[in-house]
C-alpha cells in the first residue's frame, strides 16, 4: 500500500485498547419520527413512524461498531442520520467534539469528506452513465482536493487498493460484476481519506462466495487505514466477524450494546437471545447444543409501538412492569464494563441449550406436542 493512502494520526489506533481511544462520534437521544399525513379535505399530520427513538451510540477512532436488527428496527435510518443525509427530529450528533445535528450545508462540507457511506445495492448506487474513473474522482472534484500526482493517479491507486485493475479506469459500471461494483463503491468512499465509513448492508446483495471478498476488503481497509466503521447488517455472523463492538436494535431502540464477546457469548436481553438462537448454522461436529427460542409473529408496527419495553409483546419473560416502565439502557449487574442492556428481567449470560426450549408459536407448540405424544405412544406400544 502506498504511503499517501494512510491516515497517519490514526495509525496507532489499533494498538491502544478500546477504552483509551478517543471518541470519534457520539450520538445522544437520537430520534427520527417520519410524519404520516392524512385526512380530508385538508391534509394534516395524523401520526408518525417512530423509526428511531432515543438512541445513544458512540464510535471510537478506528473502531468498527456493528449494528444488527431485523427489518424496521431503524438501523438504516440511524446510518443515514449519522451521515446527515437526513436531519433528526431530536437528539444530538457530535463528531469530534463538534455538534453537527443541525449544521448547515456549508458547515457540514468539511465534515462530509470525513464521513463516507457505502450502500447496499451496487447497481443503483453507481451512475450508469459515468465511467468508473469519473465516479471515484467526483468526491475529490466536489471538495476541490488535488492530491499529489493528480486525481487520475489517485483514482488508479484506489482501484488497485480495492483489488481492481487500474487499467479499467475508463470502463462503465455495467462492465463489472456485483462484487466488483461494490469494490468501486468502496474506492469512492476511500477517495477523501475518511475517518468514518457508514456501511449499510454492504454485502447482503452479493452471492455467498463474493461476500467474503468484500468483507475481507473492508477489514483490510479498517486495519490498515485505521478507519472507523458503522457496519449495519442483518447477518449476525458477518457482523461478528467484522465488528469489535455491536449494538442490537429492535423497533427503533438499542436494546443491548457491548463488545463482540459480550453480545455473542454473554447476551442478557431476551431479544438478543432470540436473535442468536434463530440464526441457522452449519454446526461443527462436536459443537455444544445451542438454546432454541422461537418467537411468534412479526415485529409490531413502528407507527404504534408497544408501551414500555417495545419487545414485551413477543417476550416470554414480560411482566406488568414491562408495559408501564421503559427499561433504561444501563450496565445491569453481572455485565462487564461497556455492556449495556435495556431489560427489567434479563436472561442468563449464556447461549447454550437450556432445560426446556422457549417456543412461543402456538402452531409449533401444537405440532410438537402432537409429535411428542405419538412418539410416547409408539414407545409404550413397544413395551
Amino acid at each position: 500500500m502506498s504511503d499517501n493512502l494512510t491516515a497517519p494520526e490514526q495509525k496507532h489506533a489499533e494498538a491502544t485498547p478500546a477504552a483509551e481511544r478517543r471518541t470519534l462520534l457520539e450520538v445522544k437521544g437520537l430520534t427520527m419520527h417520519f410524519p404520516i399525513y392524512g385526512g380530508f379535505p385538508f391534509k394534516r399530520k395524523v401520526g408518525a413512524v417512530q423509526a428511531v427513538d432515543n438512541v445513544d451510540l458512540t464510535v471510537a477512532e478506528g473502531e468498527a461498531l456493528g449494528v444488527v436488527g431485523e427489518s424496521g428496527c431503524g438501523k438504516s435510518t440511524t446510518g443515514r442520520l449519522i451521515t446527515r443525509l437526513m436531519e433528526p427530529t431530536a437528539g444530538t450528533i457530535t463528531y469530534r467534539g463538534q455538534d453537527i445535528t443541525h449544521a448547515s450545508r456549508r458547515q457540514l462540507s468539511p465534515i462530509r469528506s470525513e464521513i463516507q457511506m457505502i450502500f447496499q445495492d451496487p447497481y443503483s448506487s453507481l451512475n450508469p452513465r459515468q465511467t468508473v474513473g469519473t465516479i471515484i474522482k467526483s468526491p475529490m472534484e466536489v471538495n476541490g482536493i488535488e492530491p499529489a500526482g493528480g486525481r487520475t493517479k489517485r483514482v488508479k491507486e484506489l482501484l488497485e487498493l480495492v483489488g481492481l485493475n487500474p487499467e479499467h479506469y475508463n470502463r462503465f459500471p455495467h462492465e463489472f460484476s456485483g462484487g466488483q461494483r461494490q469494490r468501486i463503491g468502496v474506492a469512492r468512499a476511500l477517495a477523501l481519506n475518511p475517518k468514518l465509513i457508514v456501511a449499510d448492508e454492504p454485502v447482503s446483495a452479493l452471492d455467498v462466495s463474493i461476500q467474503a471478498q468484500v468483507v475481507n476488503l473492508l477489514k483490510k481497509v479498517q486495519d490498515e487505514l485505521g478507519i472507523a466503521f458503522v457496519f449495519i447488517a442483518h447477518d449476525l455472523a458477518i457482523v461478528r466477524h467484522f465488528s469489535q463492538r455491536v449494538a442490537v436494535m429492535y423497533l427503533g431502540k438499542v436494546v443491548e450494546v457491548g463488545d463482540r464477546d459480550d453480545i455473542y457469548n454473554r447476551p442478557r436481553h431476551p431479544y438478543t437471545h432470540a436473535l442468536l438462537s434463530a440464526v441457522p448454522e452449519v454446526e461443527i461436529e462436536d459443537a455444544e447444543p445451542r438454546e432454541r427460542i422461537r418467537l411468534y409473529g412479526d415485529v409490531p408496527s413502528p407507527v404504534n409501538p408497544p408501551s414500555g419495553c417495545r419487545f414485551r409483546t413477543r417476550c416470554w419473560k414480560a411482566q406488568d412492569k414491562c408495559a408501564t416502565e421503559e427499561p433504561p439502557l444501563v450496565q445491569i449487574s453481572g455485565n462487564r464494563d461497556g455492556h449495556l442492556t435495556a431489560c427489567h428481567f434479563p436472561e442468563e449470560p449464556t447461549t447454550q441449550a437450556r432445560g426446556e426450549d422457549v417456543v412461543l408459536d402456538p402452531a409449533l407448540q401444537a405440532l410438537e406436542a402432537e409429535h411428542a405424544e405419538s412418539a410416547e405412544s409408539a414407545v409404550s406400544d413397544k413395551d
Binding site: 431485523e70 427489518s71 460484476s177 462484487g179 466488483q180 452471492d207 455467498v208 462466495s209 463474493i210 461476500q211 467474503a212 471478498q213 468483507v215 475481507n216 477489514k219 442483518h234 449476525l236 455472523a237 458477518i238 461478528r240 466477524h241 463482540r260 455473542y264 432470540a274 436473535l275 442468536l276 438462537s277 434463530a278 440464526v279 441457522p280 448454522e281 452449519v282 454446526e283 461443527i284 461436529e285 459443537a287 422461537r294 418467537l295 411468534y296 409473529g297 412479526d298 415485529v299 408459536d361 402456538p362 402452531a363 409449533l364 401444537a366 405440532l367 410438537e368 402432537e370 409429535h371
Partner: protein, 348 residues
Amino acid sequence: MTEDVPRTTGSDAFLSVRDLRVRFSTEDGIVKAVDGLSFDVERGKTLGIVGESGSGKSVTNLTVLGLHNPDTSTIEGSINLDGQELLTASERELQKLRGNKMAMIFQDPLTAMSPYYTVGRQLSEPYMKHRGASKKEAKDRAVQMLEKVGIPQPKLRFDDYPHQFSGGMRQRAMIAMALMCDPELLIADEPTTALDVTVQAQILDLLKDLQQEFGSAIIFITHDLGVIANMADDIMVMYGGRAMERGTVREVLHTPRHPYTWGLLSSMPRLDSDVDIALEPIPGTPPSLLNPPTGCRFSPRCVFKDQVAGDLCTTVTPELGEGRDTACHLTSAQKQSIFIDKIQPRLR
C-alpha cells in the same frame, strides 16, 4: 436417514430426474441453465439443493412443475414422478398434478398470491378443483389448514386479502395453500429468504413439523448452507447448471469432498468461528451460462486444479455418480488429504 436401509436409486425413488438439460434461447444466444442433472427424492425425505444465483437450482424445479414456456425453452432428459413421466405429459395431465400431487412454496408470497382474491378463496380453489369438494368443505379445510400453520383467528382471516397479512403470516398462508391437497411432493424455492431471521426460524421449524405430519417429499432450494443444514436429509450442491457434490447432510457438510463446497464453507463466517482468521473467498466470479467454461464448470475458479494431471479439468467434464459422490477429477486420496490438511483446520 437410517444407516441399515440401502440408498434408493433410480426406479424406486418417488421423484427421479435423469440427465436433465434445460436451454433457453435469448437475444444473446442459448443459455444452458441446466446441463445434465440427475437426482432422486424419496418419500418423506428432504433434498436440499444449494447453489448461488445462476446455478440452475430454481430452473430445475420449475421444470419439474412444467412451468417453462415451451416456445423459448428446450428441455431434454427425463423427470419421473411416482412412475409417471412428466416431460412428455400433456398440459392437462400436468394441471391435474400441480397443486395436488405436487405443490410449490415460492420465495415471495406477495407476488405469488393474487392481490385480487381473498386468501381464503385462493386456498379453497385447488381443493374444489382437484377433490371435487363443495365450497363449504373447501372452506372448512382451508380454515383448518390456516389454523395448523399458526394464523390467529383463521375464520376471520379467511376473508382477508394477501396485503392484509404481514410477511411472516403471508408465508404461513402460502404453506397452508401448498398443503391443501396433501401433496406428495413439495417444492420450496427459497421460502424464507425474504423473511427476518426470527421469523425464518419459525417458518423452518413449522415446515419440518408439518412434514413429519404430512409425510411429503420436499425439495428445498436455498443459497444458505445454514438453512440447508437444519432442513435437509440429503444435499445436492449445484454450480453453473450442474451438480458438484451430493450426499447426506452429515457427509456434505462435515466431510465435504468438492473444491466448490470447500470454498462455500470457508467463505462463510459462523457464530462460533475464530474472528482472527480471515475468510477465504472463492476467487473470480460465477460463470456465464451463455458460454460456460469447457470441462469442469468450476475449473476457472478452482485453486486445486493444478493437482490434477494434464488439462483434464478444462477438457473433460467430470460426472457425478449415484449416491454419495463428487464431480471432480481429484482422486479420492487427494480429496481426503486436502480436506484434512487445508480445509478442516479452517472450519474448527
